[in-house]
Symmetry: C2
């Protein structure tokens, strides 16, 4: 029993901890007016008939999510806001409204560093017409940025769990760039020795862009059956849209959009490419499903969308390369 | 210029940083439906005519706000929720609804520690009928707890800035206990050597209670003209209710409610008592103002309320002891 109590958190793991929290959570009551409970990209409560508020929160901590020597305060501030906006984008036709910014910074940090960080947070909020509405400032050993964003939607929101048999799995952007960018940063190369494709991949890691314009466009015009962002990597996104919903999928690895930069970085090593594309996290692309009947309409609306697989009823995700089944095991980042 | 850029944050200070953030903040637009902007205990947006949502956020970081050797995970979790509920309470007739909990914990922390922490957060949320609606779990060097609470009010909310000339300044509870409790903890005495009054003072520091029941009761029955909680100490609360509003006040030091425990701890040293009472933070009592006409009604409703001073038009707070003016200089805790 005592031994049991002393187990480190890593034995439970990040997903185990999340499961523990969900299994032990409070139960909402009628007056809470919960429209979509904890577990999706956003929580959603309904204020009255046509107005739903979406809430998401993310915490970024120095040395876990970023290193000061890798990124400018402008880049750190921008990313902190973008990752929250990406969660709002994942709900479909939604608009972020308010941001609550809690900053923990070391006592001996330069005043100007903190000002630059805040100004960048503000600038990114302004880009999305978000009003900074509150927060907290405290001292801490490591820079800590906790942001909560509240958004609004006056139409149906798109959850993770409504994908249907035969739906097409679609994505924006390319995959694997952010993970490759992180690996380049981890090598601590001198800036002047970086090749252009390496610089591009680093930029993808440091400056992700929330896909809210596309999210709003497609959700207003197409019947999106489910959607999430690829913040934990494409593999995890596909799992969330299918197996959590007791569906499965066939994924065509050849269809996953890959950038020229990633091809150069991996010397076209297909194994490495798939690894980055499936497990490189913090990509913030949209991963969503549509009824195949809507494909032509979507192709016209956003020609750059990729179609990477099909939902089925098997409760299992299978990966295919040149029509050959390929075994893929989870190897993404875990906090614990 | 370069030297200017290298200034440490301490030269700006905590209140300077907050001022910088306010002066450089975004400007809300009509569609933001801001009812009460950043700067009060809560931010408030109006969803429709009779429904206002209140939002507050607080971040607690190990070694800044608590030490593991001083407090159990149960105590840390409880306090993290209570401090947010206290901000909702300060708005008057309001009810907390949703909590968003971001946890940063070290990789090597015991699984059981995190479970106990979360269970305590949950239990305290349940006490206030709050539904845990989202969050984030990440690894960090130090335990980090960032909580955002959304509440609702269907009546007028009470801000910090509506105190009028001749209003009475009122408080719940006693002051200075939490600050004294912190000082006892800082001495790292062995538990078995602690006297009962020391244990009581420590408890006041570790387990503050949000005064939401009283806040709801008085705001439903009395015309409260302004209100805040004493999270940054009584001195700061009085400043917020008066000078921020271009009012002043005369405060009668003899009327500030002091516990027997604090008297024992300070050996009745009046200088020490006032110092703890005015500058000991994290007390979470209500500090509010009423029209003197309402005093009798309030005395009947909540006999334990103290009346410590009177608002005036001087834009300055003056302190009196036995009718003698006393000079008081800010000496509270600053993060930077």
């Amino acid at each position: 029993m005592d031994k049991e109590k002393k187990k480190p958190l890593s034995s439970l793991g990040e997903f185990g901890l999340i499961k523990f929290i969900r299994d032990n959570n409070t139960h909402p009551q009628r007056y809470h007016q919960v429209h979509l409970d904890i577990g999706d990209d956003c929580f959603c409560f309904q204020s009255h008939k046509n107005s739903k508020y979406l809430v998401t929160t993310d915490i970024l901590i120095e040395n876990t999510h970023f290193k000061k020597q890798w990124a400018t305060p402008e880049q750190i501030g921008q990313k902190a806001v973008e990752v929250n906006v990406s969660d709002i984008a994942s709900m479909g036709n939604a608009k972020p409204l308010y941001a609550f910014i809690s900053l923990g910074v070391p006592k001996n940090i330069e005043e100007n560093y903190v000002k630059r960080l805040f100004k960048s947070i503000k600038k990114t909020c302004q880009k999305y017409c978000i009003h900074i509405s509150g927060g907290d400032t405290v001292s801490s050993e490591y820079i800590t940025i906790s942001i909560t964003v509240i958004g609004i939607s006056d139409s149906n929101i798109i959850t993770r769990s409504k994908a249907k048999n035969k739906d097409l799995i679609c994505t924006t952007g390319t995959f694997g760039d952010s993970g490759a960018g992180l690996d380049i940063l981890l090598k601590n190369k001198k800036k002047e020795n970086l090749k252009q494709f390496e610089k591009n991949l680093i930029k993808r890691h440091l400056l992700p862009q929330a896909k809210i314009t596309i999210a709003n466009l497609i959700s207003r015009n197409i019947n999106i059956t489910s959607m999430t962002d690829s913040s934990d990597g494409l593999f995890k996104s596909i799992e969330l849209l299918t197996t959590d919903n007791k569906k499965g999928a066939n994924i065509n690895l050849n269809s996953i959009p890959i950038s020229k930069d990633l091809q150069k970085f991996t010397n076209n090593n297909i194994q490495k490419i798939y690894n980055y594309a499936l497990f490189g996290a913090e990509e913030f692309e949209l991963v969503f499903t549509i009824n195949p009947i809507d494909k032509i309409k979507l192709q016209k609306l956003v020609p750059s969308i990729s179609y990477i697989g099909v939902v089925n009823n098997t409760n299992e995700v299978e990966y295919f390369e040149n029509d050959q089944k390929r075994k893929i095991k989870y190897s993404g980042f875990k906090h614990f």
